[in-house]
């Protein structure tokens, strides 16, 4: 008897003299099957995504900015951030051949500041969102899966965070905890989880009642197995699109907090550059070369994440109506 | 004197997936005071015909052919003339009345609007007339001040009927007016429509997927399938002795209790109606037809004469072999 996987034409005896072709590569374990399925659907998602022109533009810009951040040392020397560097030029000069974005009040190249400023912004965006999504997912699953009193309490908490205005809350937290990049990451992460929690909870509620989950439970599956093997994978695609948009918002939040002086004064981010520029009166002095590049960089990075997020949202989330 | 005369009507929607032909050549006539029933399953194109008659199709939709309303071609009217003709010569009783009424406007105002915009009265007199219309459909005039959500499904349907009568049109198009209602309410609304039609001598185009309803209310009926009319003729004879396999299947799907013909279990027909963009070659019904033969897949049947005032688009007709019951 042949093993169950190799069914089909191989039930028939091969005619004499002909080598039977080997059976196709069939995965044996359920986990391997699940991963094959996930790979196939990821391929499908990518194929659909490629057709979305705005999404591709966003993705392109994203790759560009990430490359700038990663390869910053190759693009502009880090010494350029040091005000005492001999590579600095005449302070507050408009763009020139040597300094394509002009210089700041220390004579540093604004180009260098902008290139290196990408790192903190992207780092904060990424990590703050990771924390936010992790908290949101855990809370959402607890609320949706376990229900009852914990759901009521957690949903109250979620509503509270949604109502309270973000910036005043972040300001109070950040000013007490002190000025550092880490604090900003934590503050943004700890205040922006509600949107994820809501989505996860709603999805947990629907998945919880699906037949295969009930079957698994009847077979004796425990909570951990159900959440990690059934609920999480189903929730994943839905929160992915939301996560990308959260990164965009996190970057904007970091910029604002840094601009208000709550960021690490020793880090060069787009927000701190703008804060320094404004603080030294660049606006009234008309020093546009100092003010435009960091701001434009923020706009384009945020747009990049937003366009990707919208494109993913269209593909991954069931739409009730076309807009 | 023909109130409505449709010739070779074709309606093609424009979608992201390409053009979709919903109506592929339909012709029909309705004389003054006559009721024509139009039956068919979902997606056969019935509602598209309703929208096309008063040019209510979405922008970008292609509508060709002729739609003569009291002699004038609706499809070539100027916008001003079209707006004037709408409701005054032909009005529509929409399906379900679920969202067909403005949720934030009182019933009386919605009724009066139809009267006022056609310059027939001012607001105050229009409201009086609205009260009379409600009375005609069996609703108390105090309902004028209600909002749609305060009415039941049947009451909302009556309001839609009252609204359709507001400008005394010569033709009423009833688009599945009983579909979303409970059976008891269905009967009430049907008998109301019947009464009004006789009283006022209205011409009516009654559209439904329930064939048995049509037999009660319409003198003639037409059966639609895949965007075309496949059978037409006097209601009773079409229902009792169908000349097209599809009509036979439709009639068998709605058994009448106590009727000897339905002693056996009602038979459903396998398969689904074709998607408008994937219509089979030849006779569009042949994949599901129990009487299909070789010519059916390649020849598109015309509407052959199949009896006294009857036509059927089935190749068995010119062969002289009407389907047996």
């Amino acid at each position: 008897m042949r093993p169950p996987e190799a069914l089909g034409r191989y039930d028939v005896e091969a005619p004499p003299g002909v080598e039977p072709t080997p059976p196709p590569e069939v995965p044996r374990s359920p986990r391997a099957i699940a991963w094959t399925r996930r790979r196939m659907s990821a391929k499908r998602v990518w194929a659909t995504y490629r057709k979305n022109r705005l999404g591709m533009i966003g993705l392109g810009a994203l790759v560009f900015f990430i490359a700038v951040a990663v390869f910053a040392p190759l693009i502009a020397s880090k010494d350029g951030l040091d005000p005492t560097c001999t590579c600095t030029g005449v302070p507050l000069q408009p763009p020139s051949l040597h300094f394509p974005f002009g210089t700041d009040n220390f004579g540093r190249s604004v180009f260098t500041l902008t290139v290196w400023g990408s790192r903190p912004s992207l780092i904060v965006g990424l990590f703050a969102t990771l924390i936010s999504v992790a908290i949101g997912a855990v809370i959402g699953i607890f609320a949706g899966y376990f229900g009852g009193k914990s759901e009521a309490v957690l949903m109250r908490l979620t509503d509270w965070f949604l109502v309270i205005p973000f910036l005043p809350l972040a300001i109070v937290l950040a000013s007490i905890l002190g000025p550092s990049l880490f604090v900003i990451i934590v503050v943004i992460g700890v205040t922006s989880w509600p949107s994820t929690a809501r989505i996860v909870r709603a999805q947990s509620l629907t998945v919880k009642t699906r037949p295969y989950v009930e079957r698994a439970r009847a077979l004796g599956a425990g909570h951990w197995h159900l959440t990690s093997r059934h609920i999480l994978p189903n929730v994943g695609p839905l929160i992915f699109a939301n996560t990308v948009l959260l990164i965009a918002i996190a970057i904007l939040s970091e910029t604002t907090l840094s601009f208000l002086g709550l960021g690490d004064p020793l880090t060069t981010s787009w927000g701190t550059t703008l804060s320094a520029a404004f603080g030294s009166g660049a606006a009234s002095a008309g020093q546009w070369w100092w003010l435009l590049p960091p701001g434009l960089a923020i706009v384009f990075v945020v747009l990049a994440f937003t366009l990707c997020g919208f494109a993913l949202d269209e593909i991954l989330n069931p739409r009730l109506r076309e807009r | 004197m023909s109130v409505l005369s449709v010739r070779d009507l074709e309606v093609t929607y424009r979608t992201q997936a390409g053009p979709i032909p919903a109506v592929r050549g339909v012709s029909l006539d309705i004389a003054t005071g006559e009721v024509l029933g139009l039956a068919g399953e979902s997606g056969c194109g019935k509602s598209s015909i309703v929208n096309a008659i008063l040019r209510l199709v979405p922008p970008g939709t292609t509508v060709t052919g002729e739609v003569l309303l009291n002699g004038e071609n609706v499809l070539t009217m100027k916008p001003g003339r079209l707006r004037a003709v709408r409701w005054t010569q032909a009005s529509v009783v929409f399906q379900g009345a679920m969202h067909a009424l403005n949720p934030v406007q009182r019933i009386g105002d919605q009724l009066a609007e139809a009267i006022v915009i056609h310059g027939q009265s001012r607001q105050r007199e229009a409201l009086v007339r609205a009260g009379e219309l409600l009375d005609q459909v069996g609703l108390p005039p105090r309902r004028l001040r209600d909002y749609p959500h305060e009415l039941s499904g049947g009451q909302k349907q009556r309001v839609m009927i009252a609204m359709a009568l507001a400008c005394s049109p010569s033709l009423i198009i009833a688009d599945e007016p009983t579909t979303a209602l409970d059976v008891m309410v269905q009967a009430q609304v049907l008998s109301l429509l019947n009464e009004l039609q006789h009283e006022l001598g209205l011409a009516m185009l009654f559209i439904t997927h329930d064939l048995s309803v049509l037999v009660e209310i319409s003198g003639r009926l037409a059966i639609m399938y895949a965007g075309k009319i496949v059978e037409q003729g006097p209601s009773v004879s079409v229902f009792e002795k169908p000349a097209h396999p599809y009509t036979e299947a439709l009639a068998a799907a709605f058994p009448a209790i106590g009727d000897q013909r339905f002693r056996k279990a009602p038979s459903g027909l396998g398969g689904d109606p074709p998607q408008p963009d994937a219509v089979p070659t030849g006779c569009s019904f042949h994949p599901r037809c129990p009487y299909a033969f070789d010519a059916c897949a390649s020849t598109v049947p015309d509407l052959y004469a199949s009896g006294e005032g009857r036509r059927s688009a089935c190749l068995l007709v010119p062969k002289g072999e009407l389907i047996a019951r």
Partner: protein, 327 residues
């Protein structure tokens, strides 16, 4: 309906309570001496002040008692003394700066909502048109832009004067310094100073209003009663204004009020950029001086403003929607 309203008001109070609880525990759960945290980095970091603050906070009392005292203080506007305003009560400092914010945020919200809603209506009605696509792109771009950066650019252009832009507006403040204007000329002076921040705040948020209104209108346009109106022979313009917009406006109104919270937050940075002496500008001053009592009180005030706005939104919806009114 009355039950529904009472429920909403109760919820609002509950949220307010959360804010107070949050403020209460903020210093008490931080590692270390709350008094030390409070006075950290300030000139008053000495044993006497520390002891005074500790007594002020009632740290020697049991926690429940502390909380009750705190609640009582908070609700009677007894918010402690400001640090950098040399001991002036926080409530006084705040009440002295609240009017400019009300003036700026109030007018900007009205203008932003009015213009935004109109753009949303027109864009949604003529969906896919050049106007629609243009306004959507504009909305997206403005959303991605930090509003304070836009403010800085506007300040640079119209106050500093760069390139072709005329330097016709003052560089900040509420009124011309050391001036003695009264009556009409004072009003004009204030308005002159308000033009730029008002413009920036209005533009920064009208995109969001436009988007909300557009989506709401698109939802409504697909409904059957629009088709009924068209079949009746109603003109397109009347269909838009008499049938579509009233239905689309209902859910939009609630969201408009709910987004007031964001405008308040945006005002913080804008007031700072234009030195407009309101609550936002005060917040930034408090950050610079680590004036924690002031910061906490400001957080409370901002939260209350948003909670009240949300409550108004709920009440408004209840009265405007005939379906809810009857319930």
């Amino acid at each position: 309906m009355r039950g529904y309203l009472i429920g909403k008001i109760a919820q609002a109070f509950l949220t307010l309570l959360f804010v107070l609880v949050f403020n209460f525990f903020l210093f008490r759960v931080m590692p270390g001496d709350p008094a030390a945290i409070l006075l950290r980095g300030s000139a008053a970091f000495n044993p006497e002040s520390l002891a005074a603050v500790r007594e002020d906070l009632g740290l020697d009392q049991p926690l429940p008692e502390q909380f009750v005292t705190y609640l009582g203080d908070a609700l009677t506007f007894n918010w402690g003394d400001s640090f950098f305003q040399s001991g002036q009560p926080v409530s006084e400092v705040i009440s002295g700066t609240i009017w400019p914010t009300i003036l700026l945020v109030g007018t900007a919200t009205l203008a932003s909502a009015a213009i935004g809603l109109l753009i949303g209506i027109y864009g949604g009605w003529k969906r896919g048109s050049r106007f629609d696509i243009g306004s959507l792109s504009f909305t997206l771009f403005v959303w991605a832009m930090p509003e304070f950066w836009f403010g800085i650019l506007v300040l640079m252009a119209f106050s500093g004067g760069v390139g072709p832009f005329p330097a016709i507006f003052p560089s900040g403040g509420y009124e011309t310094a050391a001036s003695d204007l009264t009556g009409l000329s004072h009003v004009v002076d204030v308005l002159n100073h308000m033009v730029l921040p008002f413009f920036v705040l209005t533009v920064a948020y009208l995109g969001e209003y436009a988007l909300i209104m557009r989506n709401s209108l698109l939802d409504v346009v697909g409904d059957d009663f629009i088709q009924t109106a068209r079949a009746k022979g109603v003109r397109e313009k009347q269909i838009l204004w008499r049938h579509a917009v009233p239905n689309a406006l209902l859910p939009t109104m609630t969201v408009v009020f709910l987004s007031i919270g964001f405008i308040f937050s945006g005002a913080i940075t804008i007031e700072y950029v234009f030195s407009w002496p309101g609550l936002g500008w005060l917040t930034v001053q408090a950050i610079e001086h680590k004036d924690y009592p002031l910061l906490q009180a400001l957080f409370l005030v901002f939260s209350v403003a948003v909670i009240v706005a949300n409550l108004i939104a709920d009440i408004l919806y209840t009265y405007l929607d005939p379906r809810v009114r009857a319930a």
